[in-house]
Symmetry: C2
Subunit: 360 residues, 2 copies
């Protein structure tokens, strides 16, 4: 298969982790006789520094011409601390999601047996957790009208949803549930928000088309609690943009490190794959950034194109690295010198030689 992949490493630890994912994709291409080409482009703070624009036109072009996008991370502490900044790294990511209409964001939350001990939660509670979060990604309060008064004393954001926006991500979530444990939980705040009540109505209606799926409804405050108390009750979680942001990052505590969570952002014409973690500026170039979220995002990319054996091999390699403690410090208390690159190298070696890597 030929795939043209746009690579947007972004800021902070983005470039380091993305480099490992690219390395892994290259190894897959060689071993399975695919032709993957990679085109790099700037986004976020690094694009602001060069072009005063977090999403330059050239980057959009590169993405539009690609079959898939591999995204790193964006963000920088100086912007976080400056609430007056008009141009911000995050705008690069948000505008990209909007421009390419990447409406459906899928975030798997899987508790690996080898990592149960690393979680903040008790082992028995999390063992076997396997959740797919479907987060709406191009609407809601992220993209509604924003307002700041002239005198800087009043500010507002609008959370707006239309039936169509809800339906498309909901259909995908229902279909995913059908191929899994047939449970879908809608998370909203329908006791307070009009937009949430629209979500609940639309999902109630769609539910009649998916009669073999058990549908539950819960409020975001309750979901934030239940996700920790009893994560195994969830199969597919469907939710709006902001609640999905919160729940998915919270869910990282089940898995043991936010450095493990991958995601796919699916639109009708474009697809993007990115770790859910941020740019983690402090850790830049220290070799401590966990590349697994980025590598697993690459595995989701492969799966998206039907390359299931290839994706499985990447996942096997990742699991082997966890079993053998070839992991960055966020997960490792056995060895203390396993860098970002070493994890990538190990996974690359495993792909090249699945049967021998055990002996290293």
């Amino acid at each position: 298969m030929k795939l043209n992949i746009a690579v947007l490493p972004g800021d902070g630890i983005g470039p380091e982790v993305t480099a490992q994912a690219v390395k892994v994709l290259k190894a897959i291409a060689i071993n399975f006789d695919h032709v993957f080409t990679f085109s790099n482009a700037l986004v976020g703070a690094s694009a602001i520094e060069k072009f005063n624009d977090p999403l330059p036109e050239a980057t959009i072009e590169t993405c539009k011409n690609a079959d898939a996008i591999l995204f790193g991370a964006i963000g920088k502490t100086s912007y976080d601390l400056d609430p007056y900044a008009k141009i911000r790294p995050e705008q690069g990511l948000l505008r990209l999601r909007k421009t390419l209409d990447l409406h459906t964001n899928i975030r798997p939350v899987i508790a690996y047996d080898d990592l149960l001990i690393k979680s903040s939660l008790k082992k028995t509670q999390i063992k076997g957790t396997n959740i797919l979060i479907y987060r709406e990604l191009t609407s809601g309060i992220y993209f509604g009208d924003k307002y700041l008064s002239e005198d800087n004393n009043t500010a507002s954001d609008v959370c707006k949803y239309t039936r169509e926006e809800i339906e498309r991500v909901a259909h995908s979530a229902f279909k995913a549930a059908q191929s899994r444990k047939r449970k879908l939980t809608l998370v909203d705040k329908a006791n307070v928000l009009e937009s949430s009540r629209l979500w609940r109505r639309v999902v109630q209606e769609l539910a009649t088309q998916y009669s073999n799926v058990e549908v539950n409804y819960t409020y975001i405050d309750n979901a934030a609690m239940e996700l920790i108390i009893n994560p195994k009750q969830f199969d597919v979680i469907l939710t709006e943009n902001m609640f999905g942001d919160i729940l998915s990052e919270e869910a990282s505590v089940i898995v043991g490190s936010i450095g493990l969570l991958a995601s796919a952002s699916i639109g009708d014409n474009h697809v993007m794959f990115e770790p859910i973690h941020g740019a983690y500026t402090k850790a830049t170039n220290k070799g401590i950034a966990n590349p697994i979220a980025s590598i697993l995002s690459a595995a989701m990319l492969l799966e998206h194109f039907g390359l299931d054996d290839e994706a499985s091999l990447v996942r096997d390699a990742v699991e082997k690295s966890l079993t053998l403690h070839i992991t960055t410090p966020d997960l490792n208390n056995k060895y203390d010198n396993i860098t970002t690159t070493k994890v990538g190298d190990f996974i690359e070696d495993f792909i090249n030689n699945p049967d021998e890597t055990n002996l290293n």
Copy 2:
């Protein structure tokens, strides 16, 4: 002291738990020579059933004439499942908060040594946790303009804040931090929301007036993760309405049961005290509802009026009940027949006879 207390038991388990808190307040009055009078009023689904209004005028009057309000819980499953309902129990609570201008909601999150084992989190991680959440309670997306299109296909909610709304709750939070560990964390989503950037600006400005308080800024998604990974890093958390709702319910996993979390809602002219849990319809009249959140809310009421010895005695009684496993099933795996009323009775007895209750 004379106190006129409005009692709004509400729906579901509200009446059962509130009855225990009233019992405790009566015991305090007798033992400390106070005169507490109680006036009951309807709110929520029970008010809708009787008056077709979740907050009847008579209830507002009762509250306005009282020195303090003790609130139970509102909500009912039939409304949760009906996103078309125009009259909803929650409106009773929200309109009450707004009408009485109860802008500052304080939710303590304390890990009791006797309950460390009950938490979903590992003991070492939570031991010693003591967080005060300051949640803005009368603005934000809860109270902004709501819209539903004629054809029911588009819905929106506005999250709006003014500088004044932020300042008043922020001042209280800063002052609380000064009397504690001098750390304040603002939780927002300033990388995306205009309203969050206003929060960040205002808090940055106020911080200069509280130079002995260390101020940190974090995004809600990150906070939802950090609250679980390392709750001990937090002292005072300050946040807007919706994020406060989510974080405080999530925080219940640290404490071991949502049935333990109390809150105070403070306005310039009125004060209200309520458990953070909901009406939990399923558990109604089964004797399994934990009354401690309501009883600790009564303790916060006593403290608010400077009755510190009285409040301490209530807290001691609660802790004793935890130590002796005189607790409802959510916390108990030692005895299986301790009902809501029994917990209330034990705490009442302790107040009447602090030195003897040990022997019971």
